[in-house]
Amino acid sequence: MTRASMSRKYERRATIAPENRIATSAMIASLAAEGYDTEPAPFGHALVELANERPEIVGLTADLAKYTDLHIFAEAMPDRFYQMGMAEQVMISAAAGLAREGFVPFATTYAVFASRRAYDFIAMAIAEENLPVKICCALPGLTTGYGPSHQATEDLAIFRGLPNMTIIDPCDAVDIRQSVRAMADHDGPVYSRLLRGKVPAVLTRYKPEYTFELGRAQVIREGKDVLVVSSGFMTMRALDAAEVLAQDGIDVAVLHSPTIKPLDTETILEQAGKGRLLVTAENHTIVGGLGEAVAAVLLRAGVTPTFCQIALPDEFLEAGALPTLHDLYGISVEKVAEQIRSWI
């Protein structure tokens, strides 16, 4: 049960059994790796490497370098780093200005502050002019227990509506590391969700030859009963849930679609046409994200598999510990497996 459905102002709540209550972790914490190898700060290190080749790259942050791994860049290239203070709007406008002067700015903050506070500045100063500003944002979807002020549950919906904007929802360290170059190569604005700190390496464990390609969805795991189309760390959840379901004899394929816009419609249609139950899985509200984007692609093409969505509810979410919240809102491995099982 969620806070919105309770609507009991100030009341002491009892949604979690007392023995299961745990503490909200600090903001600096990494997403739990859950059994995977990790890479430290893949975004920061990849950006430094690329910036060594490309003098036009500059970095900006709005008082969140340490919390977006941009501090790695700031330390390596202090003269190409701009600390803008806690002022997201001018950070975005200034990034637009730098782009107009021929630079390729990577600007970082939390996903909520780019998508909510700075939106108009991104829309008009950057997207409308199709400028090559790369907006890289930590804490996407439900990756903090601090409550709605820090949970960017609708960022994909917001940016999907914005013409010219390319949107990336990376799953792991491999996606993040490789997408830095892809973003710089793309001549236009990009919004990328960011996982920071120790980031798990997931995709290459299942598919050693995996490389990130902008605009391309890739089958990471084959399976004949269910097709999960997922993005972000929900691909990791889907892969883990697939292992669980395999023990019940349910064969789950996972199609990872890290580019949310433009969506790889060709691959999605091809995979959706094979008669399997189709489940979309995203770390985002059920409104306006990957699931609805996939649904529209299918309907427009007249491809109509049984369709189910794993996503966050259309609500402001609770504060609390992340594992608790992932369970509560159905995006933990266990809950993903449970939902798929119930739809079979």
Binding site: Y10, R21, T24, K66, Q83, G85, P148, S149, H150
Partner: protein, 285 residues
């Protein structure tokens, strides 16, 4: 517009210094339970909160939504641990909930939210919201012919947000003499010292130029804090009032004060009890 002082301050024989000490102690206890928390901020702002709640503000502990109360807005949601401490000290929040701070199902989340906690007027977390909301509440109180004040507690980091300065202009334009903005200037933000990142100096001159009555005092000097709050309420002109409080993070626990200060001050598991013991040594009367 002179205000009657709170029934709690003058009638109580507990000194403001002791109140501030109690606030620090409660914050440390919450930090100890959680193993973390924005303790540096809480220790730094404790004197300002003690003077606000036990000298300046008018409120009824058993009725946090009492229409006649002065409004106290915590624009800085991450300072919630400090506000919970003073709300407990003031009897607005029951003390037996202290141990739930930051836990699942707690009414005291890590970042302050209005619907969770009695006495938490607004939902913070996204910084730069408080002053604008305070402007609207001050306008609303005037429409209702209320004599209540609106206090907005904000941080030096929030001085970077454009919304702060839009609200500052609005407050002066609408002659909001019932609006008092308290700025906890601890010279710290997430990435470093605010003066080295995006300087807001000269700060008094800025507020003055924006049409505000402004004072700047040592926010850890109780007498100065009290005098500034009194002076802010007593201003005769029809303008909003700002007080910049220069505060020291971790104030009251010397071994933390001298450690490398960051936005999220590191406290080792065994140091919470040590910090409490050090605080204990300096118990005021």
């Amino acid at each position: 517009m002179m205000k009657p002082t709170s029934a709690i301050g003058p009638l109580s024989n507990v000194s403001l210094a002791r109140r501030a000490w109690n606030i620090r102690r409660k914050a440390l206890l919450m930090g100890e339970v959680q193993g973390q928390g924005y303790i540096g901020q809480a220790l730094g702002v404790a004197d300002v909160l003690a003077a606000s709640y036990f000298h300046a503000l008018n409120y009824r502990p058993d009725d946090p939504e009492w229409e006649g109360r002065d409004r106290f807005l915590l624009s800085i949601g991450h300072y919630a641990i400090a506000l919970y401490a003073v709300l407990m000290e003031a009897g607005i929040l029951p003390e037996d909930e202290l141990e739930t701070y930051g836990m699942d199902d707690s009414r005291m989340p890590m970042s302050g939210m209005a619907s969770y906690t009695p006495g938490m007027e607004i939902t913070g977390g996204s910084l730069g919201h408080g002053l604008g909301i305070a402007v609207g509440m001050a306008m609303g109180l005037k429409r209702k012919n209320s004599s209540s004040f609106v206090y907005n507690l904000m941080s030096d980091g929030e001085l970077g947000e454009g919304s702060t300065w839009e609200a500052a202009m609005a407050g002066a334009h609408h002659k909001l003499d019932n609006l008092i903005c308290l700025i906890d200037f601890n010279n710290q933000q997430a990435d470093g010292k605010s003066t080295e990142m995006l300087s807001s100096e000269p700060l008094e001159a800025k507020w003055e130029a924006f049409g505000w009555h402004v004072q700047r005092v040592d926010g850890n000097d109780m007498e100065a804090v009290v005098a500034a709050l009194d002076a802010a309420r007593a201003v005769a002109e029809s303008k909003p009032r700002a007080i910049v409080f220069d505060t020291r993070m971790c104030k009251g626990v010397p071994f933390l004060e001298t450690r490398e200060i960051t936005h999220f001050v590191r406290v080792e598991p065994d140091e919470w009890s040590k910090a409490l013991a050090v605080l204990e040594e300096g118990t005021p009367a």
